[in-house]
Symmetry: C2
Subunit: 577 residues, 2 copies
């Protein structure tokens, strides 16, 4: 892989909230599972398996910011626990290559440089990601395959094949002297996977026969009845649509869904069409996946955008990002007629091969509406057959319980309601209620051969990444951003002599995001008068600047609220000349 090494960016703050110290030293004879993410909140999946002096980290993902986390780029787990016990951390093992499982590593590895283990595609995607941050895989890191084992002190990790919405996915059987923990990873049971890599039912049954102490299983679809459909169903539907389309076809999907991309390429090839890939993220993934052999491209089907542009529309397929309506993505820009290379025209068929992630519904709908406005025929939504989930529905979850027959159960990977539903399902499946543990991020689960419990909590909040700062944006900065976003800011500056007796310049009033200044001259002029009056009142008795500032804030705040019913942030600045 050609890696253009960027300058390593110097982070200007790194701050994890946990204090470190007393409560974080949890190691000992018992088997402990410390969850740092993915429990009761979607994303940033991460946990630590601790036994005696060895810690094994499973996954290290990021989450995307919630709406109220203004200006935040990504969210990573709080790793105070790991930092406090870093000498014991032996390895990081990865279940698959999605952002919510590997995305925190560029932030984590500079602080905790231990070997990373994952399958070939997972490691390929990780290397590309680290390379973008000027980082490399830690020494000792290694590619592992489904069926292989890794020994870490007294812990042995067995990797076995599972299916999901990305290729080369594994679950983990973590054998310890106390017993075996089975970690499902994110999974579904696809009976006809695109790459013929069927979930390893034999291994699961064998593990079940040998005895599983704790099952940790993906809860994302614990509310969905029945079975999740096979990815091949999407392939058939894509073939049907592409065969019937008379003009150009555009397909937007998740960049990481290599099987879906494979199926688009195949369907195009079967219809004598060429495929061009647009969008940095999509191009990167396709490059890695083709290079490593996870996507097989029939000869001459993949072309550049320039080559595609010379073909008639009936021979063209464009693969792009933007299935979530992300503002800067290919499809969104096309829908607004703002894309540099592609102009949507009547006759185009656009396939949005994804369901909106919660929170993105409105963005996706807006993109769809705009594509319709440009005359495209748009195929989208749950009932159009162009998307299936990557997560197991209730029947598959039941099958896993029956294969594994665990003594203890911890629902993982899901919002809190998913964990609750999965726990109820476990009970239906015959697991004793007292052996089912619904935890939250930070929960410490402790097991001996015949006892299990939630015994503690470690720091596991959200660490917000904004630019080069990790964790410096907290409640105070967010509260300010929130206030600024609602009613803007009004700054009042006065220059006063050192004795506090004489106004030398000002008041100067500047506002942003509060009112349309050109139409509010009278309002702002009156505000200045109020400031002058307040200064006059105080002229004789300025004890402290802070008292004066506070007075100006009150006077202005009250006046502006009366006149506008808005509450801008008011910032008095006094220059002592």
């Amino acid at each position: 892989m050609v890696c253009v090494l960027l300058v390593v960016e110097k982070l200007f703050v790194i701050r994890h909230k946990g204090k470190g110290g007393e409560n974080l030293k949890l190691l000992g004879d018992k088997l402990k599972i410390v969850t740092l993410g993915g429990l009761g909140e979607i994303g940033k999946n991460m946990m630590a398996i601790c036994y005696r002096d060895d810690i094994l980290v499973v996954d290290a993902g990021l989450a995307f910011p919630e709406e109220e986390m203004l200006g935040i780029d990504v969210v990573i787990p709080d790793i105070s626990f790991l930092l406090a016990n870093s000498a014991q951390i032996r390895a990081i093992v990865l279940t698959h290559g999605h952002e919510d499982h590997i995305g925190a590593l560029p932030f984590l590895l500079p602080q905790i440089n231990v070997p990373v283990f994952g399958t070939r595609l997972t490691m390929g995607l990780l290397e590309r990601k680290l390379c973008d941050s000027g980082l490399k895989l830690p020494p000792g890191s290694q590619v592992v395959s489904a069926g292989e084992c890794l020994t870490v002190g007294d812990i042995e990790v067995e990797f076995f094949r599972m299916n999901h919405s990305i290729a080369d996915v594994v679950g983990l059987a973590i054998h310890t002297p106390v017993g075996t923990i089975l970690h499902s990873g994110d999974f579904k049971f696809d009976q006809t996977p695109v790459d013929d890599e069927i979930s390893d039912f034999g291994k699961l049954a064998e593990l079940g026969d040998r005895g599983v102490l704790v099952l940790m299983s993906d809860s994302t679809n614990a509310e969905k009845e029945g079975y999740t459909q096979s990815e091949k169903v999407v392939g058939r539907r894509l073939l049907e649509i592409i065969s019937q389309a008379e003009q150009r076809v555009l397909v937007a999907t998740f960049a990481s869904n290599v099987h879906r991309i494979q199926q688009v390429i195949e369907a195009a090839g079967q219809n004598g069409r060429k495929v061009a890939v647009i969008g940095r993220n999509m191009e990167n993934t396709v490059n890695v996946a083709v290079e490593l052999g996870y996507i097989n491209v029939p000869e001459n089907v993949l072309v550049t955008m320039d080559e595609l542009a010379r073909l008639p529309h009936r021979q063209a397929v464009i693969l792009t990002t933007g299935s979530q309506g992300e503002p800067m993505s290919g499809l969104t820009r096309m829908s607004l007629n703002e894309h540099r290379r592609v102009e949507i025209v009547p006759g185009d068929t656009v396939i949005i091969a994804a369901n909106p992630v919660p929170g993105n519904e409105k963005l996706v709908q807006r993109t769809t509406d705009n594509l319709f406005r440009l005359g495209a025929s748009v195929i989208y939504g749950a009932e159009s057959g162009v998307h299936v989930s990557g997560h197991a529905s209730r029947e598959e979850l039941k099958l896993l319980f029956n294969l594994v027959r665990p003594k203890y159960f911890i629902p993982i990977h899901g919002e809190y309601r998913h964990l609750v539903h999965h726990a109820a399902l476990a009970q239906e499946m015959g697991i004793a209620p007292e052996n089912i543990f619904v935890g939250e991020n930070g929960s410490v689960f402790e097991f001996s051969r015949d006892k299990g419990a939630i015994t503690g909590k470690v720091p596991a909040g959200n660490v917000l990444v904004d630019g080069l700062g990790i964790g410096d944006v907290g409640n105070i900065v967010l509260r300010d951003r929130r206030q600024l976003s609602q009613d803007g800011i009004l700054i009042v500056v006065v220059a006063i002599d050192k004795a506090g007796q004489q106004l030398l310049a000002g008041p100067e009033i500047v506002s942003r995001g509060f009112v349309y200044v050109r139409e509010s001259e009278e309002l702002l002029e009156e505000a200045k008068q109020r400031v002058r009056a307040a200064l006059d009142e105080e002229a004789d008795c300025v004890a402290e600047w802070s008292a004066l500032k506070s007075k100006l804030r009150d006077v202005l705040g009250q006046y502006l609220y009366e006149r506008t019913r808005r509450r801008p942030m008011i910032l008095p600045i006094i220059m002592e000349v």
Copy 2:
């Protein structure tokens, strides 16, 4: 109705974007429909029917702000067209009492004071709303009933019964010398409505027989196959849940859904439970609806919260708002354990009897998760049977086509994709493609007896209401709020002598929402140094303050971006002393 008259708030800006004038004078011999809202965007439904010298306004709704409309309270239609033709406006007729059909009236009536006509519940809710703004119904306003007619110049409006998710809903047959326009309003065909007020199929058939020139019909569910279920289905499910619940039951639903509220009260009564209503909005609606006889309360079933608190939990039902996860609503505060009166405890059953409006999915999910965390059993979501839509699905839309058999068709009330799907359905139903018109807000549709076309456009953008300002918050203010929300602001103040030669005080740097100041002293100190250096360079040649400000912005912007990868708004202020 007791109306506590508030002080009429003086709006500090009213600004509609349309210029007024030449293009807005559309009246004439042809029949024109001018759409000011509700076409291609959900909400703020409003249109004008124009014939010769008469304008009839149908509905005047508001929309709720999109995510990017930071700090905005509500969105109303641009009424430039109406203001330019105000002398011709004869009346406003209302189809029902939802916010997206009546919510703009408190802003509109002070500018266009013409009589308003609507059914008894609609007018009751409107009066309450006007009263909250210190307004009254315009003189000549009148309650009308389904079956009645209103004559406005050459236009006759016939009101007929339809069903929807609120009571006392009507559609409109607007008879003009050119032909009849049938306006469906928001509707569904409920064959077993809670109040036995069945849609007036007879009238629709009669109108169809007499000949309908233009059908305008609700497109919200034009993508949904089959029939929308009856509200009674929800009633049965509510009864089932309330009968089986062993402890307290809380029901959150839309305050305006009086039929659902009726059914909750009945189900409670049948199980020997009492109902308390919490939340200002819900209390207001229930008061109006009970007073006007739209909700029938069995004796002693409705109690105050104080009375309910003295009853055992198994006898209690609480009706509240917050079915959309709105931050300040009853249910949301309960889910966060922050409600003044109600503490959720294990054993509580919470019914969220609504589907999330697009954009609110995440908020509803968060509320649900938090209720589960408190130990409640939560019943929610599309498959739980506690909500049905108020809008017609495809089979009902087809039935309306077959009853009315219009010559021309305009899909209304829906996002753009809904209009496109409804237009395709119209074609399937045998309407000639050239007689189907998909427009957008502002489209002017023109009809003679044998010709129809979209012939023009009037201003119909979003007018943003923020506090007491109508329309003053536009792109510039929103752009500033957006930038402030992302990376905050950094203000640098210097005091300089009038000759521009000497720095008298400062630079003073103040930031908000940018970095956590206590941990960024070095960063801000270095920023000051950069400002000093820039001032030194310019000392000899300060031509204009604006050039100096621009230089400070560049120097600081570049430095801060390098160090933090953030782009705060930078505001240099120079005090000339």
